[in-house]
Symmetry: C2
């Protein structure tokens, strides 16, 4: 044994002591469990999640759920609900339940068909419209195909002269009465489908005093050039008819229980007091029948923009030409309203860290007939999303927040299933919902992506689409973003793919416009620059089959896959990102554009604006204030200590509640369930989303007001409400104390 | 050097290594900062906070802020606001700001005094009521004492016969019309103050068709036995008059800007469209003048419960006895409404861990004259609370949540300052407010504590009062709880001090009834079993001075100190407890009692309930559901890992949002700003808080309805809404996913 010097021994000792201490310290440090959820780099999970969504699977789901008609309230739609529930359970998500409501639906009377006749002076029916659409090949033995009808039409057999009123818009009726001098009181009006929601046409007809209204699909609006009618192409056959409800609910949900879920114990108004039910008979026809009704009409020839593509003169009436003067039109409508049980299917994946934060993917299941496009192309996509999420769960993944999947019922009868569930869960949703992604029809054209969403989702949509491949042939290796950008550039505003405002007409309505939950929707669409028809030609007809998708819209099912990936990535990142992927600066930018645009609209009346001292200054100043608050908030986000769970939650709460801040609890004038001050449909067309809808409607009303001073007062009031709301929203972005 | 055995050396080494490792481990473990906020045992801070509140200081504050009249909208009230702001800043809280609004106020015309005359057949005034109250000693040189008036009275000089209608309640007018057969159309009614809010009397008079209304303080209602009138005692002198507003706002705030804060850019309705403004002249008088008006009245002698304590017959009229038949009464009212700037003072202490959670202590500053009791006894208490909180801050304490102190303006004109601020901050409050504690008059009697609060605060109030000493002489060492319990036991329901429901009539209204923030108020009160007078005799008269408090109500200022400690401890524990001290089980118990009580009220009409199939089953079942949810929630609280900041926050959010869950966004029928389904004033008396007010009002209306079938339908509808709301609230207590 060698002798060591004292020095070396000491050094050895010190080294040993130090090493041991440091070792102990490090083990202690790292052994201690941390309360902070580390930001799991979830990108590989996202990749797995998106790649698991398969075109073939979507094809299978679509095939499975379009075999039989499944109108809301029918046994078959309950069966599909049960099947979906069972399959979602098998897919392995945490819970699935069936949630029923008893709502007012409307069906044709099975023993007394609805139709329209031309009757002669003796009252004999000289022409009757068809009772049904010719059933497409392969479906001949299917029963329970509901004939074309206008759901919630009043019953009755009004008889009288026809008046043609173009699209039945407010401006069409106004032109008819003021410029053409025609009063429709006691007449039956006939209007073409398109441009606006059919319920608005009916409301206009009622307001004008008509005693019945007929709606038809004109080839000018439902026929694509160079395309064969179904089954040889995807155009609407002459005997195809667009079904649809004709309510004016303005977001009320079940007409008999506005504001409350339609449960067993819920008080129901009597049908006379129901919300939005038309007081006159309404009926839809195809262009084959429309030709017969229009062909002999008399009266003046209208301006060209009133003329469709049928080989008739589009004379406005009233009534037929001299030759047929004694003939009248009689509507025979026996449709019944009845309280009926409907079923939502609700599936959940519990959030790991924030179970009390909800991200919702919801779309409807009920269809007018087979629902090949509307809604099952969307429902198949949701189904595949649930399957993929279940797979990911089984690999150990669990999202930070709770994800809710919904298969809504009775959307076609006024968004009833989604609205009743929103009413039932309003308190939870108001406090806890981060975002709602809608999943109606996933395809309505073969051109490119279409996204409508709240401005705070813009950035996320762009980020996501950059990670998803284009489904178009010949675009291998090209991102969906690039493919979309190329086809639909947002030229006016920015060099990026166009994203539009949300309107209404689908199940996001209660979530976005009533509750103020950040919402969006995505689907594949047509080329709106060249394809002028409304929605898609076979919309709500019996020809919406699996085959129309498989043969024409998406033979490879890659477009539906791409839509599934967009919707899926949205809910994935909203549910699993540590910091919510909502962009407040985008909201500020949009508000500025909207303020400029509504002020510009008002400028059309410069003289009156001077007279009545109308100014948009307060609104611009509020938007400026919001812009500063958003920028400051965004800057604070950069220095946020994400390791502190409370600080993170506080900032996320500010992000989540920003959309809520635009809700005015008093609602828009006369529309208590439309409460979003920035986005709502105008009162004149449910489909179109307007920005600053309160101001928009007030400006619209000026055209028809007998008392302009009063009408301008309302404009001023609405500007003040908008300015206040934007200020209030800005306040929610400032440091909380 | 001794030789050591190998074994011993090895053991030494192992010991050293182990010790060093453990040492390192421990240092590592404890050196690592923890993200969890440990539950600071804040009880010693609470003790310091309460002990710092001094009776003498409260005396000083009260003295200082009652020197001069400080009616809302006047310069002096702005001066006091500035002084409060300055002193709160000096006290050391984080921020203090002045927040102005421009609201509709109402003042007498300075050049045309308001009064009431008896006029002879020539139109000569043979008697005029006093133009002012005799000013108390020591205040003779004070200017700007506003003469007694009814704020927001219509202008006018109606002349006619008087009709006496007791307290002017719905039932009094009903009895007058139905049983006594008197129609008041075109008459001037005279009613005594008391029982209900004066605005409800005015509304009833308008509905009955009266063209003016006079209100007087009858000694039966404003005179305590054996007490001298002020200044020798605290009774109301014969020439003392109760001022007050006569609006029917139902929570709207500023009459011209309902739903929105009255800012510079805010749209204002024209006065004709203002909310709640009476259409007829209104004026208040004392019993000295009332005697002269009532003395010669003719007509029938009313039942005894219509008779007050004046030496007159209380004949109901119309008009005077035969002898004086030709004499009429003329009201001369020239009061003006005008938009006027008011000022709230808002002070804040930023929360350390949850700055985005707000606990609010608010009370008004504006007074009819000096405000010796109303409101400065309360404002002095707030002032002392802020001072004590500032002291505590300087010792290093900082509450977990943000505390907001408010000195409201224009409460006397319809809760305007507090309501406008609630409107301005509605989004923030809805998402972030934990509780609102009101601080109006801190004393209205010399007997014991009075607390009105939401059920979830019951337990906290009991806990707190056990830690505060009784202020009563001879009760040294006795807790406030014990002293209070002895004097006011809640015998019917439980052996504990009585706690009542919140009604309205003070600044908590917008926070509790509109926004659904857990609220409470505490003050010292009279013995309601033996003292029958309304509020306190000198209420809203010039005799509400500093001296009346110092000489009679609280010479030692210990009662005010006790009230300060109750209010202070409430905000302290709500702001600083790790887990929110809200008791959901107490809410369940209260709901059960309320359901039983409203069902019992309905049982008075058993036959009709059968006829119209009215059942309370759905409500009882909802309450049962809520009870189970509350119990389960409470159990889960016991196992909560408080060290996990997210889990704690999630449970606290459920506690905070429970009160919010009782809000119906649609509001109560015809009262859009009263939205709390469990608590609101009845439509017939703003002061009294009713449980299930929707059902209560519907049942009330049955008595006067011409269409009982329809009236019972409304009862059923309200039961359904109540049942749904209780179910919905229960849902918020279940696990969030």
């Amino acid at each position: 044994m060698r002798k060591e010097s004292r020095w070396i021994r000491w050094i050895k000792w010190i080294v040993i002591v130090t090493v041991l201490f440091v070792l102990g310290f490090c083990i202690g440090w790292f052994a201690k469990p941390s309360n902070t959820q580390n930001h799991t780099d979830s990108s590989h999970y996202l990749k797995d999640f998106l790649e698991e969504m398969k075109a073939d699977k979507i094809r299978e789901h679509l095939r499975k759920f379009t075999q039989l008609p499944h109108l809301a309230g029918t046994e078959q739609n309950l069966k599909y609900a049960e099947q979906i529930m069972k399959e979602w359970q098998m897919f392995g998500i945490d819970s699935v339940e069936m949630v029923p409501y008893d709502v007012l639906l409307s069906y044709p009377n099975e023993s007394q068909p609805n139709y329209i006749s031309i009757v002669d002076h003796l009252g004999n029916e000289v022409f009757n419209t068809s009772l049904a659409e010719p059933v497409p090949q392969g479906y001949e033995d299917i029963s329970n195909i509901v004939p074309p009808y206008s759901a919630f039409s009043a019953k009755g057999q009004p008889e009288g002269d026809l008046v043609y009123v173009n699209y039945g818009r407010t401006e069409d009726f106004s032109q008819l009465q003021r410029e053409m001098g025609i009063n429709v009181t006691g007449k039956i009006v006939i209007v073409r489908y398109g441009k606006i929601f059919r319920g608005n046409k009916v409301k206009n007809a009622v307001l004008a005093g008509a005693k019945g209204i007929i709606m038809f699909s004109d080839p000018a609006d439902y026929w694509a050039d160079g395309i064969q009618p179904y089954p040889d192409g995807w155009n609407l056959p002459g005997r195809g008819v667009q079904r649809g409800n004709v309510l004016n609910l303005n977001g009320a949900g079940d007409p008999l229980t506005p504001g409350y879920p339609a449960k067993e114990y819920t008080y129901r108004f009597s049908p006379e007091d129901g919300v939005g039910l038309p007081k006159i008979p309404v009926h839809p026809i195809g262009f084959h029948d429309a030709f017969r009704l229009l062909n002999n009409m008399g009266g003046e020839i209208p301006p060209n923009n009133w003329k469709g593509a049928l080989n008739v003169s589009y004379r406005i009436g009233p009534g037929f030409t001299d030759e047929f003067k004694s003939q009248k039109v009689r509507m025979n409508i026996h449709t019944n309203n009845q309280v009926t049980r409907i079923y939502n299917v609700i599936g959940k994946i519990r959030g790991a860290q924030e179970p009390d934060r909800y991200v919702i993917l919801g779309g409807h299941r009920d269809a007018w007939v087979f629902g090949g496009i509307d809604p099952m192309s969307g429902a198949a996509v949701v189904h595949e999303t649930v399957r993929s999420a279940g797979r990911l769960l089984s690999t150990g993944w669990r999202p930070r927040r709770t994800i809710i999947f919904a298969s809504w019922d009775a959307e076609e009868f006024g968004l009833l299933g989604s609205t009743e569930w929103a009413e039932d869960n309003a308190r939870l949703l108001q406090e806890r919902a981060v975002a709602y992604i809608n999943a109606d029809s996933a395809i309505e054209g073969m051109y490119t992506l279409r996204v409508d969403c709240t401005p705070s989702l813009h950035t996320l949509v762009y980020d996501i689409t950059k990670q998803i491949p284009s489904p178009e042939e010949g675009e291998e290796g090209v991102s969906l973003y690039k493919s979309w950008h190329k086809r639909d550039n947002w030229t006016n505003d920015r060099d990026a793919p166009r994203i539009s405002k949300l309107g209404s007409g689908s199940d996001f309505e209660a979530y976005f416009i009533r509750l103020g939950i950040a919402s969006g929707r995505a689907r594949y669409t047509k080329n709106t620059k060249t394809e002028r028809y409304s929605s898609y030609p076979v919309y709500h007809s019996v020809y919406e089959t699996f085959e129309i998708v498989e043969k024409f819209y998406d033979p490879s099912f890659k477009r539906l896959q791409a839509v599934a990936q967009v919707r899926g990535a949205l809910i994935f990142l909203l549910a699993d990102s540590q910091l919510l992927p909502l962009d407040v600066n985008e909201y500020a930018d949009s508000l500025r554009k909207y303020a400029q645009s509504i002020a510009q609209l008002a400028q059309k009346n410069l003289v009156e604006m001077e007279t009545y001292k109308v100014s948009f200054d307060s609104l611009f100043s509020a938007v400026e204030n919001f812009t500063v608050a958003a920028r400051d908030f965004h800057e604070r986000l950069q220095t946020l200590n994400k390791a502190d769970p409370l600080q993170l939650r506080i900032m996320n709460d500010q992000l989540m509640y920003l959309e809520r801040a635009f809700i005015d609890p008093l609602g828009l004038p006369g529309r208590p369930f439309y409460r979003h001050v920035i986005f709502a449909p105008s009162s004149h067309n449910k489909y179109a989303g307007e920005s600053f809808p309160g101001i928009y409607d007030a400006l619209f009303d000026i055209q028809n007001s007998a008392d302009p001073a009063k009408a301008w007062e309302e404009v001023k009031r609405q500007i003040s409400i908008a300015a206040f709301t934007v200020h209030a929203a800005a306040m929610t972005l400032t440091p909380p104390a």
